[in-house]
Each structure stands twice: as structure tokens, then as C-alpha cells.
């Protein structure tokens, strides 16, 4: 019944999709073959909670995402119109109750995302068969749960996820093994643990591998939020205006489009920043297709954000004021705006943490170093993370960092933790 309904609507949509794909290709986009599926809002929330995939391994954090999406939807805070995933063929999920004008806009938007995934160099080495991989990973983890117990596996998953950001975000190709890593300092702590940690059971190693693989798959996405959304918004606007829109749809479209790319006061809307920057770059006569092929967010901002642009877009830097307990505007200097943005975007907004020594003090202890670039780590979470790391490494673990301008060594060995100034 259900699938019949989808099939029927898909058939109705097919001519529209084909027409828009034709327009997109005429305009110079080169997307993957893209398949569309209509979903109701619950299915949309489910897919979004699973990070865009129909099957993921079982874990409560997807449930949490679902909870947040569902409440956000119920109270009218947000609504997901579409989900596109980096895949070949590319899959796009559309909300079935989108009105026809929104649906057209969204289809244009999707083709531009699909083009971005295919053409941007940071995605070149991501797996494009991730739907199958994720399903296979889910099956593996389910077998482990059956064998070792749900609680045990869930607990180790929690632990693995606590380390999932300790990968090399700047590696376009994920290192395959330790030989890929030159010198002793590696940032791929996940890989390091998989290869070097003693006394790990095989299933635990596999869990770490799965979490790492999926983290690398999502890494380019996290680092191309502004440019990818900007690109998609730029093109849905171009395509709608040049080819797709009929006269009677203009008002609905304009109203919808301006909502999507509206500047939320006090917050950065990646759609808005991205589309405006692309328009600005176009005016300067730069080849947009080159930009989309070679940049991630950091490069996009670093290369193209100008003083005039910041002024026109009324950009500012805000900061948390501990006295008033709220965020305040502190500066409008464009260089500071740029620096702040770059700070957030570099390395996917994650700290640079290296493996310094795996035989620290000659006792097989693990020493990590945080390259401090002005921002402190959250101390309480550091201790909890070190504790998780200890449970994998099984010997004392240490992190050298800087807290409030004071170099510190945080250590964890079992239940005892310490914080020593150095």
C-alpha cells in the first residue's frame, strides 16, 4: 500500500525531475545519477536522525537526534524539506507534503548538492557505497550484541564515539595503516589505537574500525557546510529563476526562498553566508565551478571573504559575557570576523591532538599533545575522555594542553585523575 503510493507519486514526479535535471546539466552542473524518494515527516526525521541513511547500527544517540528533531518539528522550530546523501547513485529524500513550488526548489537544490558531492575534491576519496557499508556495519554490531550482550556492546560504542573526533580531518585520503603516517606524531588516534592497543578483543577493534570509518565518511561534509549549502542555494535560485518557475509560483517561491536564506540575527546561517559569497565571487568574475571543485569552508572563507563583503553583510563577532550570562556583540572588524570564522572552521572545529609517545616514561604509557591555538579545551570533558581512553589503552594516559595560559598535564590511570602544571 505504502510503497504503491510512493511509486505512484514518483511516477508523477519523474517528468519534473527529468526536466530539472536537464536544466541543471545545461547550466553546467554535473551531478550523480540522483534518485528521489518521497517520505512523510516521521520518515524524514528518522532518516535525518540516522545521519541520512536508512540503516545504521543500533545506538541511543540516533534516538536522541530523533527526539530533538521531532520536538523541533512539533513546536514549529524546524522542518526538514530534504535530505541528500553523498552516494553513487545519489539518494534524495523529499518531504511528501511539500507544496509544488517548494518541491521544485528542493529538487533544484538537490541536484546542486549532488553535483557538489561529485565534483568537490574533498569528497573524492569518500566511499560512495556507504548505504551498503553502513548496513553491513549495523549487521556486524548486531551480531556482537547478540553474542556479548547489548549493554556491553553499547557501552563500548559510547566509548568509541567519545574518541570519534580523534581522526585526521585534513587527510583527504584516510590513512590505511600506520605506515601511511610519516614520523611518530599522528593525529589519527583512532587508527593508532586500532593497531597498537594491547588486550583489545577482536570485536572491540572492529567497533573502533566502524566508528572511524563512518567518521571519515562524514568528515568532508562537516567541513563543507557553508560552501555546499551556498552552492545549492545559489543554484536553486538560478535554476528556478531561469528555467523552472511559472508566473503563478513566483510569490510562493520568493517567500520560501527568502525564508531559507534569511539571516537569523545573531547567528550564522550557512545558506545565507554561502549564497551571498558565491554571488559576490560571481561579480568579481571568478570561475564558480573552480571554487566549488577546490574549496572547503575554511578555504572558501580564507580566499574570498573581503572587507566590503563583511560590511555589506553586517557581520560581527560575539562573545559570551560571564557577567551578564549572555552573548554580546564585541567587534565588527572584518579581520577579526574572518579569524574567528576560520578558527571555527579549521580542522572541522576540532582541536589538534597528536600522539606524542606510546612508551612515555618507559612504562608503555600514552602521551597525547594538544596543539593550543588560543582556545582552551573543556576541562571536565577532558577527564571523562581520558578515562575512556584509559579503558582502551589499559595503561595510564596523559594529555598535555594549556588551560588559562598555564601549560598542564592531565593524566588518568583508572579511577585516579590528576592535573599538574608543567
Amino acid at each position: 500500500m505504502k510503497s504503491a503510493k510512493i511509486a505512484r507519486e514518483k511516477n508523477e514526479m519523474t517528468p519534473l525531475v527529468q526536466e530539472i535535471e536537464g536544466c541543471a546539466r545545461r547550466a553546467g552542473l554535473d551531478p550523480f545519477h540522483t534518485l528521489f524518494q518521497l517520505c512523510d515527516y516521521r520518515e524524514m526525521n528518522e532518516i535525518a536522525a540516522f545521519g541520512g541513511f536508512p540503516i545504521r547500527y543500533s545506538h541511543w544517540r540516533f534516538g536522541m537526534e530523533f527526539d530533538i528533531l521531532l520536538k523541533g518539528q512539533t513546536y514549529g522550530l524546524q522542518r526538514i524539506y530534504e535530505i541528500v546523501i553523498n552516494h553513487d547513485p545519489c539518494y534524495a529524500y523529499l518531504l511528501e507534503c511539500n507544496n509544488p513550488v517548494i518541491q521544485k526548489t528542493v529538487i533544484c537544490h538537490v541536484f546542486a548538492h549532488s553535483d557538489f558531492f561529485k565534483q568537490n575534491r574533498f569528497f573524492a576519496h569518500t566511499r560512495r557505497d556507504m548505504i551498503d557499508r553502513m548496513a553491513a556495519n549495523a549487521a556486524k554490531i548486531r551480531r556482537f550484541s547478540d553474542h556479548y550482550g547489548t549493554e556491553v556492546v553499547e557501552e563500548f560504542l559510547d566509548l568509541s564515539l567519545s574518541l570519534e573526533n580523534l581522526i585526521d580531518y585534513q587527510a583527504v585520503i584516510p590513512p590505511r595503516n600506520a605506515r601511511d603516517i610519516e614520523g611518530k606524531r599522528t593525529r589519527d588516534l583512532m587508527l593508532f589505537l586500532i593497531e597498537q592497543a594491547q588486550d583489545l578483543e577482536e570485536w572491540q577493534r572492529t567497533l573502533l574500525e566502524i566508528v572511524r570509518e563512518e567518521a571519515y565518511y562524514f568528515a568532508p561534509q562537516v567541513q563543507t557546510k557553508i560552501i555546499n549549502e551556498g552552492w545549492a542555494s545559489f543554484w536553486h535560485s538560478q535554476l528556478m529563476n531561469q528555467f523552472v518557475l511559472t508566473d503563478r509560483e513566483v510569490i510562493d517561491y520568493a517567500s520560501q526562498h527568502s525564508l531559507a536564506v534569511a539571516a537569523t540575527p545573531g547567528q550564522l546561517n550557512p545558506y545565507k553566508l554561502g549564497i551571498e559569497l558565491f554571488r559576490d565571487i560571481e561579480k568579481r568574475g571568478i570561475d564558480l565551478f573552480e571554487v566549488r571543485a577546490n574549496c572547503n569552508d575554511a578555504a572558501f572563507i580564507d580566499s574570498f571573504l573581503t572587507e566590503e563583503f563583511c560590511r555589506e553583510q553586517k557581520m560581527f563577532v560575539y562573545e559570551f559575557n560571564r557577567r551578564s550570562g549572555g552573548y554580546e556583540i564585541v567587534d565588527r572588524n572584518w579581520l577579526l570576523v574572518k579569524e574567528t570564522l576560520l578558527n571555527q572552521l579549521t580542522n572541522a572545529g576540532q582541536p589538534f591532538i597528536y600522539v606524542q609517545d606510546d612508551n612515555f616514561e618507559g612504562r608503555g604509557e600514552l602521551l597525547l599533545v594538544h596543539d593550543h591555538h588560543g582556545l582552551d579545551l573543556k576541562l571536565s570533558d577532558c577527564h571523562a575522555t581520558l578515562q575512556n581512553l584509559y579503558r582502551v589503552w589499559k595503561k595510564p594516559v596523559h594529555l598535555m594542553t594549556v588551560i588559562a595560559n598555564q601549560p598542564k598535564m592531565l593524566s588518568c590511570s583508572g579511577n585516579s585523575k590528576s592535573e599538574v602544571a608543567i
Binding site: Y81, L268, N269, L273, F316, S324, I329, V330, L375
Partner: protein, 371 residues
């Protein structure tokens, strides 16, 4: 159709409700649901569990925003929240300070209903009373900005500009003037509703302290809200009693401190009188809630109470709920007596409320029958 995600969702809910012990740092604030209320809007925090990571301290971090504002101008909470529209994409990141959602009291009540799995009430009585409600189904020339009919307004402006010849195809700028503005508006329609009355009774004898009254107050507030949501039209009456009963205003009900002995039958008698006088028709759904520490003066009086319940109160009521709160002097005999003599009454519900944490369960027992 059951969704795959529901399994993960249930697991998450189990963890945050503490049914599963996990070594996770959580930002859940319990009891929040029953506590916070400011005017019409209640702020409920979305529960999140955080997996610890090496990451930056977000509060210490600067951010970039867009918009007007002088240096030093605060960004309001509202602005910090997630933007209302967007195309969701795989790998979405949520903003760090989007933790609270503001809901209206009505939505809050719905959530309470869902949370406690309360059934909707099936009203008694055949006759229904008609009430007027508003349906937004028409368009008017005046109205508040929030109800502006954007498309209609735009069309009118375009029409006017075309007709008056001020429209320029090469520079199409449409500026609506006063006459162009149209607003959504409502029509009044009649809808059948049922009427309900709650009669609250509370023991205010010396042994009932502030803490006990606080429990009664919180419990009644949520019962009140739920029934109001179910019926739309609700009358409340308040009776306090020590050795004698009197009818009072809501405020007095919660704040009086009497002293002396306790004759529960005095309140029950007055409850009977009020019902007979004001709510005797078929179309009334009558609820009694009685709170006491269970210390009645004599067994003789308790017997009288049981008679009143059996012959007069229970037959005329949808529900009779008795909540026994624990006082400094322990809990009295009354609950036990009721239990002994009136076990088989379907519409009598008795609950022992030891402390504030038990309120939740008490509400569920009181309203869980859907009567």
C-alpha cells in the same frame, strides 16, 4: 508503521529517565516539568546526553553572526536558537545553545498527557452544551501583523499597480499600501462540549504543614490543567476543613492554616450539598479530590464518611480521588479504612503521596482511568 528509529528512541528515553544506569554526563533536569511556569509560556529543556570528547569550551568561544546592533548589544536567546527553516542535510550539526523550547501551557498539558500516558476522558451524559469556537477560514481587511495574508496582499498590490499604470516591467518593485493589506480572520462556529466541575477538599488541621500543602497545590494544578484541557469548560470549588468545613476561594484554599481537630465528614457533607445544588444535571461531569494526612478524629466519623461516599458522593461523581499526604506525624488511618470498606468502587481512587517525587505517580493514578 513502526519506524526503525523508535527502538533507539525508547532506549534514549530509558537512559535519560534513569531506568538504565549509565555512566554518562547528562543535562537532564528532573522535576522541571512540574515546576517552571511564567505567564502563558513554559520553557521545557530538551533532554540531551553528551558523549564526552576532547573539544573546545563553547562558552569561552567567540562566534560570528550577522545583523544590526551596536558593540556590546546582547544577543537574545531567541536569536541564538536554531533558525526556523532550512534544508536538512546529512551530518547536520546542531547549535550549542539550542536547548530550550518554549511551549504554551496547552502544549505542556498535552505533553504531560503523553508523558503519563493519560487516556482522553470520555464525558458522561447525553446532553451536550454548545460553545462557540473560532475557526480561521476567512480574510479581512484589518488584523494583526501576525495574521497577514502575504500572498493575497502581494496580489492586490500588483493588481493595483497594474491598473494604475505605475507598474514597470523592467523594474518590478511592488510596494503594498494600506488598502492592499489582507489578513486571515476567523468565523465563529458552534461546537458541542461537555461541562465539568471539580470540587477540591483539603484537610487544613494543625498537622498539615506547608510542605503537605505544596504537594496538594502542585498536584491540583496539574489535575486542573488536564481537566481544563479535556473539557474546555470547567468550574472549580474549594472546601477546607478541620473540625468543620467551609467553602473558600482558590487562594485561601492553598494558604490557610487552621488548627485543631479533623472531621472529614464535614467536608463530604458540604461536597454533597454543593453537588446537589449546582451540578445535579446529567450534563455535568463532577470530580472530587480530597487531600488529607489521614488523621481523622474518630472511627465514628470515618464510618459516616464511608456512608456518604457509598450512598451519595460516588454515585454522583465521575471520580472521587483521595490523596493521602505524609505529615510530620506520619500517615493516618483514613486511607486504610477506605481501602477496607470500599475496595470495589470503580470510581474511587486512593493514593498515598509520600513526598514531592510521588506526585507524578499520583497524577497518573488519578487520571489514568480516563473517566
Amino acid at each position: 508503521m513502526a519506524l526503525r528509529i523508535e527502538k533507539e528512541w525508547r532506549r534514549f528515553v530509558q537512559i535519560i529517565k534513569g531506568r538504565v544506569k549509565r555512566n554518562l554526563k547528562s543535562f537532564i533536569t528532573k522535576g522541571e516539568l512540574l515546576g517552571k511556569r511564567g505567564g502563558e509560556v513554559i520553557s521545557i529543556p530538551l533532554s540531551r546526553l553528551e558523549i564526552p570528547r576532547f573539544h573546545f569550551d563553547l562558552n569561552a568561544q567567540r562566534g560570528v553572526g550577522q545583523g544590526q546592533g551596536k558593540l556590546g548589544a546582547p544577543l537574545s536567546r531567541q536569536e541564538g536558537e536554531e533558525s526556523g527553516h532550512g534544508h536538512g542535510e546529512a551530518g547536520n550539526m546542531s547549535s550549542p545553545h539550542a536547548l530550550d523550547v518554549d511551549v504554551t501551557l496547552e502544549e505542556m498539558i498535552k505533553m504531560l498527557g503523553e508523558e503519563l500516558e493519560l487516556p482522553n476522558i470520555e464525558p458522561r451524559g447525553q446532553r451536550h452544551v454548545l460553545t462557540e469556537i473560532n475557526r480561521f477560514s476567512s480574510v479581512k481587511r484589518t488584523g494583526p501583523q501576525g495574521l497577514l495574508h502575504f500572498k493575497r496582499t502581494y496580489k492586490k498590490a500588483l493588481q493595483r499597480e497594474l491598473m494604475s499604470g505605475t507598474y514597470r516591467a523592467d523594474h518590478p518593485s511592488i510596494v503594498p499600501i494600506k488598502e492592499d493589506f489582507h489578513y486571515r480572520s476567523w468565523k465563529v462556529v458552534e461546537k458541542p462540549t461537555s461541562k465539568a466541575a471539580i470540587i477540591y477538599m483539603m484537610d487544613v488541621s494543625g498537622s498539615m504543614g506547608d510542605e503537605q500543602k505544596e504537594i496538594v497545590r502542585i498536584t491540583s494544578f496539574w489535575i486542573d490543567s488536564w481537566l481544563r484541557y479535556q473539557y474546555g469548560d470547567l468550574e472549580c470549588r474549594y472546601i477546607i476543613h478541620d473540625a468543620s468545613a467551609k467553602e473558600v476561594e482558590q487562594d485561601t484554599f492553598y494558604h490557610t492554616k487552621e488548627s485543631g481537630g479533623t472531621l472529614i465528614s464535614s467536608a463530604y457533607k458540604m461536597g454533597c450539598e454543593i453537588t446537589q445544588r449546582d451540578y445535579s444535571g446529567d450534563d455535568w461531569n463532577v470530580y472530587f479530590f480530597h487531600f488529607s494526612d489521614g488523621d481523622n478524629w474518630s472511627g465514628e466519623d470515618t464510618k459516616q464518611c464511608i456512608e456518604l461516599l457509598r450512598n451519595r458522593l460516588l454515585p454522583s461523581a465521575n471520580l472521587f480521588c483521595y490523596g493521602q499526604v505524609e505529615s510530620r506525624y506520619g500517615s493516618g488511618q483514613f486511607l486504610k479504612d477506605l481501602n477496607e470498606y470500599l475496595t470495589h468502587s470503580a470510581n474511587l481512587i486512593m493514593v498515598h503521596i509520600e513526598n514531592k517525587d510521588a506526585i507524578y505517580a499520583a497524577i497518573k493514578s488519578f487520571l489514568g482511568k480516563g473517566k
